[in-house]
Symmetry: D2
């Protein structure tokens, strides 16, 4: 349904042609300094019309905060917020409405609800994601202030244009296909690990395609223009890194951290694929090469030498960089006629419609970041509940030493350390 989360909850509403789209964000930590601008920044990265590569509609998308904040500080109560729709009348009837758009949500929404919005796909509209981005911006403000967590998404492929092997996520590195050879050269290269550690939103936003590798960005732009000129569309992938996540997040068994992230990412319109860490490529690397050996890090804590796991082991964050990749299919709405059938089954040609976004992947970056922030925030609250609650128990003295070699209390940062 339209609510995400256990303790940090995002509930959204709104279609394309109604008065507004918006959200209620419940469970926001009290005492957080938060302004509309904190939210607006990500909303503006999401909205159309940022370059001539995307749809030319110029939506203003100004956020209006309704509640939950006084004097610039959160009260701990729900934050209501909304963004007005410019065009909030139901669409007029046209002949194209006789056709469910192929691979769009028109037909399935009608099958599910029995009525459908004039815009066809109802809540499958990209405008629905505004509430998510707003919720994510709030989560992110906390995560940055309290933990220095950084979340950066970028475009890792458009069509067949991929990042070069040296800086690509493992699955985008070409394989030799030799089943007797265990190597996967270049996968998890040091350059890729370095990219994960350093990539910033500023770097990413330098290119309209949001690909941090300029040379590849040029080829992606070219690929998108080719789709645009062909009245066609093209998909791509977004890779996202989350830096600075404390160890211990994720709730086995059903709410392992990668399961929550996968759920969140595949709830974004047009997504069809998710992988974390080495992902599908990791299925080809033998355990002896794939295992991330432990080392003592500079700060004295355990870490891993490699990071095939993508920062999550046993469904729980291990403190290393979390990285994952999300696949967005090519947009269903294209500006060329399609041979298909009407709702009543009559075969025919669905006429070309107006101009559309030939590639949504660059605009999807802030949405991926937002859902990542929402997941981490919710999991952090749950783990904090466990830690803070267990910390009040008297020490256990009856356990064999190996059961408490490390542990909760030791892992609890000193008050002073955490307050920055």
């Amino acid at each position: 349904m339209s609510t995400w989360g256990t303790l940090f909850r995002v509930t959204t509403y709104g279609e394309s042609h109604c008065a507004s789209v918006g959200a209620i964000i419940d469970g926001v930590p009290p005492g957080l300094q938060l302004s509309a601008q904190d939210i607006q920044t990500q909303l503006s990265r999401r909205r159309p019309g940022q370059s001539d590569l995307t749809t030319p509609r110029d939506e203003k998308d100004l956020v209006h905060i309704q509640s939950g904040i006084e004097h610039g500080v959160t009260l701990g109560t729900p934050i209501g917020l909304l963004v007005k729709n410019e065009d909030h009348r139901p669409k007029d009837y046209t002949e194209t409405d006789l056709y469910p758009r192929p691979s769009h949500a028109d037909w399935t929404y009608l099958e599910k609800y029995g009525v459908k919005a004039s815009s066809g796909g109802g809540r499958s509209s990209a405008r629905e994601t505004i509430g998510r981005v707003a919720g994510g911006a709030i989560a992110e403000k906390y995560l940055t202030l309290a933990h220095g967590i950084e979340i950066v998404g970028f475009v890792s492929s458009v069509g067949k244009v991929h990042l070069p092997a040296s800086v690509a996520p493992p699955s985008l590195v070409p394989t030799d296909g030799d089943e007797d050879n265990d190597d996967v050269p270049d996968a998890l290269s040091p350059e890729f690990i370095h990219l994960l550690a350093t990539v910033s939103r500023a770097t990413v936003d330098k290119e309209p395609t949001r690909c941090p590798h300029p040379e590849t960005a040029v080829r992606m732009t070219k690929r998108i223009r080719r789709a645009q000129e062909a009245h066609d569309s093209i998909g791509g992938t977004v890779t996202c890194v989350i830096r600075g996540v404390p160890s211990g997040l994720g709730e086995p068994v059903f709410d392992r951290l990668e399961a929550q992230l996968a759920h969140a990412m595949l709830s974004i319109p047009a997504t069809k694929a998710f992988e974390i860490g080495s992902g599908f490529r990791g299925t080809e690397v033998p355990g002896s090469a794939h295992n991330d050996a432990f080392v003592r890090k500079a700060d004295g804590r355990l870490g891993t030498r490699t990071n095939w796991s993508g920062g999550v082991q046993g469904g729980i964050s291990n403190g290393e960089d979390i990285y994952f990749r999300v696949g967005f299919k090519s947009p269903a709405t294209i500006s060329q006629p399609q041979q298909t059938a009407q709702y009543d089954g009559t075969a025919g040609e669905l006429a070309a419609r107006g101009r559309h976004d030939p590639c949504v992947v660059p605009r999807a970056v802030p949405i991926v970041e937002a859902m990542a922030a929402i997941v981490i925030m919710d999991q952090l609250l749950i783990q904090n509940a466990r830690r803070a609650t267990a910390a009040l128990l008297p020490p256990v003295t009856t356990l064999p030493p190996t059961m408490v070699l490390s542990g909760l209390k030791q892992a609890l940062p000193k008050e002073g350390e955490e307050q920055k």
Copy 2:
């Protein structure tokens, strides 16, 4: 946490070395004929020791139903069930316990809980999945009886050994890598679509690797033996098809059907990747080729000519076969020494341990099927709530015709049709 679902709820308990593992299945439809054998069949497909390719432990894994059934019929109340652990004493302390096993859950469980089970990874044990398989078997019994739904998983790759392009899921078809060429030859081939439509558990179980393509199965066996002999391990992928799912399942916006499936699959131990329909490969195919055009099917209902979407559009099932692929990383536990560090950071060599499963993918098949059944059952209950509730409203006469061309009431099957 350890509960899945909204109306059909599976709650599991149990580690490797406790008295039993088990589950409570709540929300089971009343009046369903159900026996222990219905559950045992899938449990036996999951358990180790089925062939010499898997771990030689011979667990019996007999299910004991505690409640919720009388005279072989479900009461609609929770079904408690358990499977006893053969070895239910905490493990003895050994020197290897000084080391968190690389890429295993030992360290993250300790970071999360502050104490850890003697077995190390606690609930990350494969035995936890017994409760899921039992819950899935109950869901599946309903889905088969009421809707004729069939769920069949199979091994689509082991290491670099993939199904041949003609019968492989799109992402396993090699690409030409030519970014100026929009074609992806062989992806979504008619043979693959035919395989999805016809593959059965009987066929799958003919091979110990659970790959329905005998020639590939031979190569997979060879690949697993090579890992076994090298005291190493290897991963792989499971592809699963769900046939006969009614249209309308999935709850936008956050609980789109693919999001639920991704969550369920990535909650299984050792999973790192998920894709539905054309998945990652679909990001490379232009919209004009990727869109699934509508056609009137033999039964008079709308369907799609192709099925790049994998049976889900706009987050909602469209009645076509649902297929998806899950990536399992190579098992972390290997029978060779590893250079790593102890909990306290001391570098050292973790000695080789006993014999282990070099490849878990064949045994993962019934777990994937179980989670798929649980997701579909829960979503079906929710959509049935909407359908049955909306069906009691007086007909709406004020809507423009295109808003109700098809719809809920018309879509409701006649009583007789659905009862087989």
Copy 3:
């Protein structure tokens, strides 16, 4: 938190001094004809300034629907709605802010959140209930159209002014206190049962006190005026009847119908007590007198001769009228000085504040009705899921006859019967 419900979900936001208060209503059945007026009617019954017995503030409280409806018909997607606050600036600081108001939420909100809204009690404001009333109005529209369900609340006591024994709920009937005498004369009198069966909102609204017994209403008015003149406040009880609820609602074991109703009612500000059916008085009546014997009703179905149970048995509705009573404490905010302490513990006198509602019970009536509608709607959806799902199973033939004497399929109304 701020979300109610499993399938019919009401999420609210808003304090006294923010831009607006509002709600998102998710899970609304699609195809329901719904207008702003359907919601406004109950909002207007809730708002202050309806008579000189209540606070003289004249809030307009006009609802603005944001989404989920087109052409006057629900889409099945979330309905966002809001009501603007007239005064949406944080309050200025005054010396009274040094004092937490006794028995108000000022101190506990500060203890919980660490910061507090300028209005003190934050979400404990009565304005928060606007979102509930709106959600309830939507639920009620469905319940009326699909099932002819009627929900009517009325004031059954103000201070010590009670309805006369002949028409009072059992607990308001004076007891003889004779512990050797099992009788409780007049409790559950035929007049009371008749009142439950016939009372309407029109009757209730004839009196500003919303007591349907004119003579008692006069005494209640007098009692409220006495509180008003003494710069004091007084509490009271609301009794509510729900007519026409189908049998089978309520989800054992934790979500028994009375448990859900109690939860919903005690979530309303200022409530401290709940009883259903014979309630506390029923604890004094022996089982032989208290048991509701079964009879065949005029429509051929089983019913009960008496209704001590209040329409719920075993936690499940039995088709009889559901009635319950809710106790509202005397309002904490009074217009006279109070001896108390400041936040820092300094003893002192909290000065009198402006005019306040001396008795909120009449205005609480639509809030009680709204929460009742929300509970019934959610439970109806869940039970419809079970019924519709179980109805698709093949008939069970192996059960002893007494296990299926009646039952789900037989209980399913014919299509035509239910569609009015």
Copy 4:
């Protein structure tokens, strides 16, 4: 359904005539020392056969812990547990099965599920509460160790036999019925407040009736014997106090602490009424008398001079003793013939059945305590999440002083203080 809680979750299964009843307790803090005996103590207080006032069946009710504990310490993973049923065959068919028992769950269970357990009421069986008592015992162990919280329930009335006014909860104090007199003499008497502060389980268990006032206990015993001899039954009330609860628990708006407690209590079989603090009686006391003025307590913290509120204000605990009262109706199962109707509507006489518990209230005491512990534990975890999360934020310097006079960080106890 059969799961309670957000972070501390109790899921139960089991009917009267199945193999076992049990529960899975999820979200238990790791590192808690816990033995079967901790659970058994409360189970034994719940089971029948403790005195000749209760049913003579001698159930052993030994708990078997399945998981989640090693070396006597919780792992933080789910604790599975079960208690075997002595008689686990479905009952034989008898002629009385033609009749739904009046005011029992037989008919409503059949209406709801369409099939019914051989025992009739299915999960409405008192044996279902075993899982709750076990879950409550685990919660209580934590609450005692970490916070010194004490939960004590006692019988406050049986039929018309009440505690004397001086030690009775407000609603059990007789009223003068004079609507022009604002006084309610004796309500909230110092003796009652003293009783709340001092009553212990040891005192309560001295009397088979579990009434801590010996003289009243004698009259209660007499009343129960009279019901027993008349082959009849009688109800009563349980009052419960929770001492030592930290301020700040309860989640507005829908999950106010009293709403959660009411939900929990009315989920217990045979309950029909709930009030907290002054409850229904509080509706008759003017605000000026009912308001709990603040005072600085001996420990320097704010407290209240009186406690009409019952320890909860604005839906949030304020640190004072929480007390509430639960009404249990007279048991439906009686050993005398009843004039009623069969399932098919035929009027007739339901013959007397065997011996039954004439009054369940004494045995209900540990169940009330268990549900109270479960509610507090879950709310504590949620508030700890908020506190621990907010505590990591940088201090807010921009708020008006009255918004942060007290607050979260100040309220956080020093590490040392809380660890006892």
